[in-house]
């Protein structure tokens, strides 16, 4: 029996119950769903370069590491700390009554989300009440040795007319596998801004970020991934009501491992807008893989959607894979998609060198400029943190 099976057995047989009956029941249902699923790998999954099966088969036990050595985050807002998936403050824990009606509604067929639901032993809950406005910082810490699995789950409910600014910072120590999942349920006319920062030196991050938006709501998201390890991210956004708007941008620097990003924006109602701009830099043998889809359901007329993936490849041993797609079943829509893969502009490097910058400084400035577009579009402290992390990462190239 491998490590994952052991963890499953504990969960399924209730050997590690949380003691919260309704939560354990949700987990149990997910265990049953999982039982009917196969662990996907790069052969069975379309356009994925992170092998989920291999990553999960390498798991030996749950991560139990002490996460107190990370520096406190220098970001404004109420801080919710979560160590290897366990919520430090009971006020934000799903295990604190009453039961949360929205939890477990995630019926995604995405394997990592089902696995996460089955294995999560706690979850962060942030509920922003109707008309309220909050700023929250999620300090997600993971620590464990090779083969240790940490499962982290977050549920965010933003009620009608409310607004939330969420900074979700993921840091890892050691070769831990962090299995993360976040559901964001955005009510009518609500406003959400989310920044995701992944700063792990060598761990593996498997993330599922799901957002469901009601009529007239608006979300703006930015992710920055400068990790050394491998990561796999699924970003799913559902626009369920008319006049909803979603912007999702991202920037990553892939070195050594693989960055595997899947983005899926579903226009399930008409007159919605969405825009995605993902920028990738691959260097030093790193691989970046992007599969994006805009789906426009029948009758989702007057959809306005754009999807763009731009990449820079440095050196001969780095690789970029990209596949933006449109799937449109309505006829009165404005949709665009595109991808570019290029290298640094030698004319720009020459221009900057003619002003006295070294070749290395000119190249770095150009790469920073490449990333800056998405960072500036988002703005604020978390974006600055992403920019600083990208800059720091580029200095190591």
């Amino acid at each position: 029996m491998n490590g994952l099976q052991k963890i499953f057995k504990q969960t399924a047989l209730g050997e590690r119950p949380t003691g919260v009956e309704w939560f354990d029941a949700v987990r149990h249902r997910a265990v049953l769903t999982w039982g009917e699923m196969e662990l996907p790998d790069t052969k069975t999954e379309d356009y994925r370069r992170f092998n989920l099966r291999a990553a999960m088969e390498s798991v030996a036990c749950r991560a139990e590491g002490d996460c107190s050595m990370f520096e406190p985050l220098d970001l404004e807002g109420e801080v919710v700390r979560c160590d290897n998936g366990r919520v430090a403050d009971a006020e934000y824990s799903i295990l604190t009554p009453p039961p949360i009606a929205e939890y477990g509604s995630l019926t995604s067929a995405i394997a990592s989300a089902v696995l996460n639901t089955a294995l999560a032993e706690d979850a962060v809950v942030v509920r922003v009440a109707r008309g309220e406005s909050r700023k929250v910082v999620l300090d997600s810490r993971f620590k464990g040795t090779k083969g240790a699995l940490a499962v982290s789950r977050v549920l965010v409910v933003v009620e009608e007319g409310a607004s939330l600014e969420l900074s979700d910072v993921c840091r890892t120590e050691g070769e831990v596998v962090a299995l993360r999942c976040r559901e964001v349920i955005v009510g009518r006319d609500a406003n959400v801004k989310i920044a995701d920062v992944v700063e792990n030196p060598e761990g593996t991050v498997i993330d599922h970020r799901y957002t469901s938006q009601a009529e007239g709501s608006s979300t703006r998201a930015l992710f920055g991934d400068v990790s050394r390890g491998a990561s796999r991210v699924d970003v799913v956004t559902l626009l369920n009501g008319p006049h909803a708007e979603a912007v999702c941008d991202g920037v990553y620097v892939a070195t050594h491992g693989v960055r595997d990003i899947r983005l899926d924006v579903q226009h399930l109602a008409g007159e919605c807008q969405s825009s995605e701009l993902i920028k990738g830099i691959a260097a030093e043998g790193g691989r970046g893989s992007f599969a994006g889809r805009i789906y426009v359901a029948p009758d989702s007329q007057k959809t306005d959607a754009s999807l763009l993936n731009r990449n820079i490849v440095l050196g001969t041993d780095a690789k970029i894979y990209t596949k933006p797609t449109l799937e449109i079943y309505a006829d009165d829509v404005k949709c665009s998609h595109g991808a570019t893969v290029g290298q640094l502009d030698p004319e720009a490097v020459y221009y900057m060198r003619q002003r006295g910058l070294s070749q290395q400084a000119a190249e770095r400035l150009q790469l920073l400029g490449f990333a800056a577009e998405v960072v500036e579009r988002f703005g604020g402290q978390a974006a600055e943190r992403i920019a600083a992390a990208v800059e720091h990462k580029l200095q190591t190239l």
Partner: protein
């Protein structure tokens, strides 16, 4: 002598473009280089700056007594050689401010000076942008991105003002400028003149030289300087074209 070019030959893609240029510049001088299209004017400027597209096959360039051709591009710049680009490059995402701050720091370092503080740098930006009437907002934008043709050229002279070069080579700084922008750019260059620095202006038109009065005017043709004179040469070329010179070459 600030610049001594001796028998300079250069190729691009295997084709010889410069065929033995001899040229000297002393501190305080302004030289104008004119000549028909394709005569090698921009190539000459690029070779001085160190553009890797061009291969120097023979000759020597001494800059302040130092072998210029042995220095990397950035070292030439740090030592005070400035090239005003004919087609300034757009660099998306790189702000003019951060770019110039890095450039000024390198130039100051080469001069043995401490880097400027943020406040000093901003003061310098304000002061120098006035010289070319450059909209201060452009400094917070990406390098040349979305700039009009005139703004790009003003921006070149603004950078020149910021870096205070010893030798500025301005490659067709007047091309694409309307009358007002031309006056502003040219007046800016004139204001930056000192007895210690020198300027080489590459141009097609005499009108730029109404503002930047040259001490010498040279005609470059088929990769060689075929004729040199004082400022009246530019007026004669404006009136009579190049035929009287080229004819004598053929």
């Amino acid at each position: 002598m600030l610049l001594e070019v001796k028998n300079l030959h250069a190729n691009v893609a295997g084709k010889e473009v410069l065929r033995g240029i001899n040229f000297e510049v002393r501190p305080g001088e302004v030289h104008a280089i004119m000549g028909p299209n394709g005569s090698g004017k921009s190539t000459f400027a690029s070779v001085l700056a160190g553009n890797p597209k061009f291969e120097v096959t023979a000759g020597e360039v001494l800059y302040d007594g130092v072998d210029l051709l042995s220095l990397p591009i950035e070292e030439r710049a740090r030592q005070g050689l400035f090239l005003g680009f004919q087609y300034p490059v757009e660099i998306p995402g790189v702000s003019m401010a951060s770019f110039m701050k890095a450039a000024v720091a390198e130039r100051r370092k080469a001069l043995g000076l401490e880097p400027l503080s943020s406040a000093e740098f901003l003061k310098l930006v304000r002061e120098k942008s006035k010289i070319v009437e450059l909209d201060g907002k452009l400094v917070s934008r990406s390098v040349n991105e979305g700039f009009s043709g005139g703004e790009k050229k003003k921006n070149e002279i603004f950078q020149m003002a910021m870096l205070e070069p010893r030798l500025a080579v301005l490659d067709e700084t007047d091309s694409g400028l309307d009358i007002d922008a031309l006056r502003i750019v040219a007046t800016g260059v004139q204001r930056l003149r000192t007895p210690q620095n020198a300027t080489v202006v590459i141009t097609h038109y005499q009108r730029l030289l109404d503002y930047i009065i040259p001490d010498f005017v040279h005609v470059l043709y088929k990769g060689q300087i075929i004729y040199s004179g004082d400022k009246t040469l530019a007026l004669k070329l404006e009136r009579e074209g190049y035929d009287w010179l080229i004819g004598s070459q053929q």
